[in-house]
């Protein structure tokens, strides 16, 4: 219960600090809307649903991953340098990884609203949309949000110990969304990269989004959800251990609290 409260509190605080700010919301909504508009106008009303789904949903997932990676990287700066609250978070009885998980999932909530806005824009421009808005698709997007947040959590831990890694987030951004096939199928990638893709939880989530966007029933998508969520749980376990290790190391070196 304590963990659930802390997680929910962190998610709400993240939304209150950033997600619900007009400037931030505009950037989170505007980019997917512009991408959706360009995609819809380029592909036109005769475009097959699969192609448009790749643009609308894949683009949304790419944006979600970038936003989550950014939050994983800059949370330390926000809490330590801007608000001076990082020490208080670490000194709370709940694991710091739970707080980060709340922040990262909060970020995906904002990104999901961008996906929804992009779909609405495409529908308005084209007059119709060959995209089955089914429960399977909604659940697939939620699963994608969870897997992307879980992967972000794994990346967040080392950035606490080595803030210099935050300078390399662009280098971490592209390989993940390319390997996870968020924007285009991994069949286009060399064969040697296939095992890496299969080990990425967002790959299975993106596959489920693609499958659901083709109108597949829940039964056909469920195995992909299970694979995605199974890997996400493994990521969660790795992240918890990594956070404990990193925070212990930071307590030992004295780098936990600046100033």
């Amino acid at each position: 219960m304590t963990v659930a409260r802390a997680f929910g509190g962190a998610l709400r605080m993240h939304l209150a600090l950033y997600g619900l700010r007009v400037s931030r919301l505009l950037s989170s909504l505007l980019t997917p809307c512009v991408m959706a508009a360009v995609g819809a106008l380029l592909l036109g009303p005769a475009a097959p649903g699969d192609a448009l789904a790749r643009v609308l949903l894949g683009g949304g997932l790419v944006g979600m991953w970038s936003a989550v990676l950014g939050t994983a990287a800059f949370t330390l700066r926000r809490e330590n340098d801007w608000y001076g609250t990082f020490a208080l978070l670490v000194a709370a009885p709940v694991r710091t990884s739970v707080v980060y998980a709340g922040y990262l999932l909060g970020e995906t909530v904002v990104a999901l609203s961008g996906v929804a806005a992009g779909i609405a824009v495409a529908w308005l421009l084209l007059g119709h949309l060959d995209l089955p808005l089914t429960p399977a698709l909604a659940i697939s997007l939620l699963v994608a949000a969870i897997t992307i947040a879980a992967l972000g959590l794994v990346f967040a831990a080392p950035m606490i110990l080595l803030p210099i890694l935050t300078r390399w987030i662009n280098a971490l951004d592209y390989p993940v969304w390319i390997l996870a096939g968020l924007m285009f199928p991994i069949a286009l990638l060399p064969a040697w990269s296939r095992p890496l893709s299969l080990a990425l939880a967002p790959y299975w989530a993106a596959e489920s989004v693609s499958t659901a966007a083709r109108g597949a029933p829940i039964g056909a998508v469920a195995p992909q959800w299970l694979a995605a969520l199974g890997l996400a749980v493994a990521y969660g376990a790795i992240a918890i251990a990594a956070f404990e290790l990193v925070l212990r190391r930071a307590r030992a070196t004295g780098s936990l609290v600046r100033g």
Binding site: G9, Y83, G84, T85, A91, A92, P93, L256
Partner: protein, 336 residues
């Protein structure tokens, strides 16, 4: 009484790296050099010392934010290294300054968040938030953004945040730093209330009168060592051989201060404070040296505002302890 905090031979070294990419240097700096002390339950204990003395390092170790290099420390019976989780549940921390709050959201949202982090249910946290805001006089501004608060209000909100989970022990690290006199007085009142609530409090401060006014016992630390540990009254009695001469010189008269310094000699400590239109010179001198008798000659030609001979305050004791003892001298402790 039982000990709320037990510190035994606590030491903390930092490795400081420097130099360029080719020639790296590495040296070890000791922030704490083997401190031993106990804080009783319900006690308001002060940790005094100059900048870099090791006060904040001690608080960071006790609040589980830093690991000691050697030695042990327990807080409410829990080891700060091996049982950090249990320690965290029972302590509250307040760092000085106006950081440590989310400025873009309201006081209520700040407190709600910290209540969530400590696992408080909604009904309990609603009640605690309302009580805490009332206790610090912020209930009318509860839903205003924190970045619209004055510094004093933010510090009071810090107190409310520290209390939200009803900790048994509270660390206050220079809580009045940067506050105006009225804000600082309000905060000292809040600290007294915490004490009345039965909380054990470990307070660090630079302000001697604050420690004198609030603390049951005070530990003076310098260069990472414990220099003295006693009640404020006992500390004052530790320098029975000392008296203080305060002289107000009107206008800037550096030559007069130089002559006073000469008069003071090595056995007395002189501090000069510049005030807007005058200078306050304070001479701490061993009893038996009648410096006052020599003043008419020493200050001939200088405009003297006032001369006061008085008993030492805690600040005088502190200056004597910190400046008058060689580094590494053993701690002075009041007789039980």
């Amino acid at each position: 009484m039982t000990a709320a905090i037990e510190v035994r031979d606590l030491r903390r070294d930092y490795v400081v790296r420097g130099g360029g990419p080719l020639r790296r240097s590495r040296r070890t700096v000791s922030a704490l050099r083997g401190i031993t002390l106990d804080v009783e339950e319900g006690e308001l204990f002060g940790l005094l010392g100059p900048n870099g003395a090791g006060k904040t390092t001690a608080i960071r170790i006790l609040s589980t934010l830093l690991l000691p290099t050697s030695g042990t420390a327990t807080v409410l019976g829990h080891d700060v290294v091996r049982q950090a989780g249990q320690v965290r549940r029972e302590i509250g921390i307040l760092f000085g300054g106006d950081r440590g709050l989310y400025g873009r959201v309201s006081a209520w949202q700040n407190l709600r968040y910290f209540a969530n982090l400590y696992g408080l249910g909604r009904a309990l946290s609603d009640r605690r938030i309302a009580e805490a805001l009332r206790a610090v006089g912020l209930e009318e501004r509860a839903h205003d953004r924190v970045d619209t608060y004055s510094r004093g209000m933010k510090q009071r909100l810090h107190i409310a945040r520290t209390l939200i989970h009803d900790p048994r022990l509270v660390f206050l690290d220079e809580p009045t730093i940067g506050l105006d006199p009225i804000g600082a007085r309000e905060l000292r009142d809040q600290v007294r209330r915490l004490r009345a609530m039965g909380k054990t409090i470990l307070l660090t401060t630079h302000y001697m009168f604050e420690a004198d006014e609030l603390c049951d016992r005070i530990a003076i630390v310098d260069h990472g060592r414990l220099v003295a540990l006693a009640s404020p009254a006992e500390l004052r009695r530790m320098v029975p051989d000392l008296y203080v001469l305060e002289i107000e010189l009107e206008g800037g008269r550096p030559e007069a201060v130089a002559r006073l310094r000469e008069l003071a000699g090595p056995s007395s400590t002189l501090t000069a404070t510049d005030l807007p239109d005058r200078q306050l010179v304070r001479l701490q001198s061993p009893r038996g040296r009648d410096l006052a008798a020599a003043l008419p000659t020493t200050l001939a030609g200088a405009r003297v505002g006032s001369v006061l001979v008085r008993e030492p305050t805690l600040e005088d004791v502190y200056v004597r302890m910190v400046e008058g003892l060689p580094a590494g001298a053993p701690a002075v402790e009041a007789a039980p």
